[in-house]
Symmetry: C2
């Protein structure tokens, strides 16, 4: 047994440290689709002190460490590495408490997002971000990737909901930055360093989250617009008319909407075909406000010709029906087999051009390509899903990625709106960040992790 | 002439570099009350390239630099230093433009906050933070101090409104991080390093700011509550009932309200005296929503006994009247002469205890002390103003500060809710941050400014 493993075993015991066949299959991969890997060892510490001991040993022996949350990442940031020790936070899943006056929630990093949301709801409040992976992802993972989800246009990314953190540095130092106050400008706000750092700068062990009141009333409309510019005028109008009641603004191009509604055998909501489809969701604190504000806003947009047709949900059941096609993305494997899925950002003034160029460019390269476009357009966030049926199981991943990320670079977009870089997007970092920004990332990494043990093959390392 | 001055003059010319008597009086002090200081030189660059040249020369010669915005800071972060070159951004005051679709505003750092707000308003939007110093402070200064102001409970601090930055590092490297998208997780979000860094890590030269829709309708109530716990129950209820319509929640203790209403000869709003006074402001996007929601919320609080009496403004003029005493703080010099003013944060569960202990503790030390307490309680933010009349011009600053910051430490609060540390609060950093947090600040400082030229006598340096 290697020196590092015997040190870890001695310090933490066999209950925390496992190796080889004793490492369950679920710890050998994440949701990125990368092939399973057996790590050097799996550590499942029960508390901050054990995380600290583990990192101190790894740092002293120069052993790489892969911090892990719920393993739901799709960029491979938490994917195991054969040369690294995996450090899973999944046992540190204690909800420490809600403070209703301060509107805060304190948790260990391994708490499942849905459990944190439930704790907030029990106190009559809510956590302002939510993702599809809520039942499996951990709060720590959402912090490490600065996750966002569907309502970022209203509530912002995870960063805006984090008041305090406890972090263990590469050398085992425990940094207590468990601030609970909204305003605290006593020196540098060091916790910001770790948000979105993909486990390269430290391991988040605890967090203080800011909670929100939940608007009890929602209204949802499904609109057909002549084209994206009309949809963007609707966005600008909806922002001004609805203010913080505008909680979602989702755009689907016909490529996505027609393919997915046909594929999942769902009746299309509107009788005619349109240039783009938009779901607008309003959430408010009075029963009439959400619906009346949305109706007024849509009425004005119809008069302007920016909305050609629209359906307003009359009930909660209706609302789910309007979202059904948008939320059918779990059907991709059944409908297409292997895909390349992109979560990129494009400045809005180039979004129409981007979608046209991406879809036509991919079809020029791969004539039978299926390209589906949709996204959180209020956040400049575009989803693109690509499958080349004739390529079967061997999709031309590299060519597809190179083309899409290259186009993203040329349009001054970001290769990662969400999900970070991990293993899969790390080669493209220079497409979205300036050399000086990347140099800064390296300076900070070198300062905080001089032995380069934390996720040294991932993201901006 | 010293070597550094001749190099600066040669590189930038006499229009940018001035020394000695040629430095206007207004550049010799900020609003901290510290005695005026003549800096080694004053640099007023016209563009980023000149900032870069200036810093490269100062870095190579090991010359300290004091970055300056509108000089409205009250902690002394931009106060000149006799051994340092002052670098004022005040000529870099170009508004580059508003993008209504993206809801962003791009400015040079020297733009006056009020001018940025006016540019946003012209596009039918608003910048989500606002301070009393709006007519003099610069956008760059608000970024360097992570300013907030009156509506933080709704809109958050400056950090939440900054999408992109251009920053010049100590060695003159220009970092272009002028991101415009809400979601961008391609590697570390390096701009976060510079927000609230008080000029110690780099000089912000340009910024992309996120804009908000402005709620057109407001309703304001002035309430008398039996005590702070009742006021905090009102806060919790108002958060849940009003949601994002709750834009201000200001508490005034009798110490402040009675002294200031008497001193400024204003009639008290309510007939009786109360344990605390609260101003609740609601802002909404429909005419009735703001007022009805506020009325309903206050009605319920009166039934619970948490509000004893309340007045709801019937007009905009009425609203100003309800705020008048709260906004009379410019009268301090007339009413008290020299003061010690604190802007601290206290966790809410200890707020009542804090105010009682601070006021009684100061009066025990200085029997004639005037102590005025009020604050943005929704942000855990307490203002305390202290004057000892018998001490005249020679206020016992050190004793007062030591007592207040010591009590803040003991109550797990922050010595700086806003305004940073500068020169005045730097000695107390350890009262509000853990040794590990402070060590991290030093590591980042050493990595980004290895020659320690940027504000080396301020904040966390």
């Amino acid at each position: 047994m290697s020196d590092v493993l015997s040190q870890l075993l001695e310090a933490l015991g066999p209950d925390v440290v496992s190796t080889g066949d004793a490492i369950p299959a679920r710890y050998r991969h994440d949701w990125s689709g990368l092939a399973p890997v057996l790590p050097l060892a799996l550590l499942r510490p029960r508390n901050t002190e054990e995380v600290s001991k583990a990192l101190a040993i790894c740092n002293a022996t120069g052993t790489p460490v892969t911090p892990q949350g719920g393993l739901t990442g799709i960029s491979g940031g938490a994917h195991p590495d054969a040369a690294a020790v995996s450090l899973s936070l999944d046992r540190m899943n204690r909800i420490e408490g809600v403070d209703p006056e301060m509107a805060t929630l304190t948790v260990e990093a391994g708490v499942i997002l849905q459990a944190a949301q439930a704790a907030a709801a029990e106190a009559g409040l809510m956590l302002g971000y939510d993702l599809g992976a809520r039942g499996s992802c951990t709060v720590g993972g959402t912090i490490a990737t600065n996750a966002g989800g569907n309502q970022v246009i209203r509530y912002g990314m995870a960063r805006e909901h984090i008041l305090g953190l406890e972090v263990v540095l590469a050398d085992g130092t425990v940094v207590n930055a468990m601030n609970r106050m909204i305003k605290n400008n006593a020196g540098l706000d060091t916790k910001q360093l770790f948000i979105g750092s993909e486990g390269l700068l430290g391991v988040v062990t605890r967090a203080v989250l800011r909670l929100q009141p939940r608007p009890p009333f929602t209204a949802t409309a499904f609109c057909g617009c002549p084209d994206l510019p009309a949809g963007l005028r609707l966005l600008t109008a909806a922002r001004k008319a609805l203010g913080p009641a505008l909680t979602s603004f989702e755009v689907m191009w016909p490529s996505f909407y027609h393919f997915m509604s046909d594929g999942t055998h769902q009746r299309r909501i509107l009788a005619e075909e349109h240039g783009i489809y938009v779901i607008v969701e309003a959430s408010a604190f009075t029963e009439t406000a959400a619906r009346e504000m949305l109706e007024t806003c849509l009425g004005a947009a119809m008069e302007e010709g920016d909305v050609a047709d629209a359906v307003l949900a009359a009930s909660g059941k209706d609302e789910r029906a309007l979202w059904a096609v948008r939320e059918s993305v779990a059907e991709y494997p059944n409908l297409m087999g292997p895909i390349n899925a992109f979560d990129i950002g494009i400045p809005l003034e180039r979004m129409a051009e981007a979608v046209a160029a991406l879809e036509s460019g991919l079809k020029a390269k791969f004539p039978d390509a299926i390209t589906l476009s949709y996204g959180h357009i209020g956040d400049s966030n575009l989803h693109l899903v690509v499958n080349v049926p004739s390529a079967g199981r061997q999709q031309p991943d590299k060519e597809i990625k190179g083309f899409v990320y290259g186009m993203t670079r040329d349009l001054a977009g970001t290769i990662s709106a969400e999900h970070g870089l991990g293993l899969i997007k790390r080669a493209y970092l220079g497409y979205s960040r300036s050399p000086e920004e990347i140099a800064l990332m390296h300076q900070v990494k070198a300062a905080l992790d001089p032995n380069n043990i934390l996720n040294p093959t991932k993201a901006f390392a």
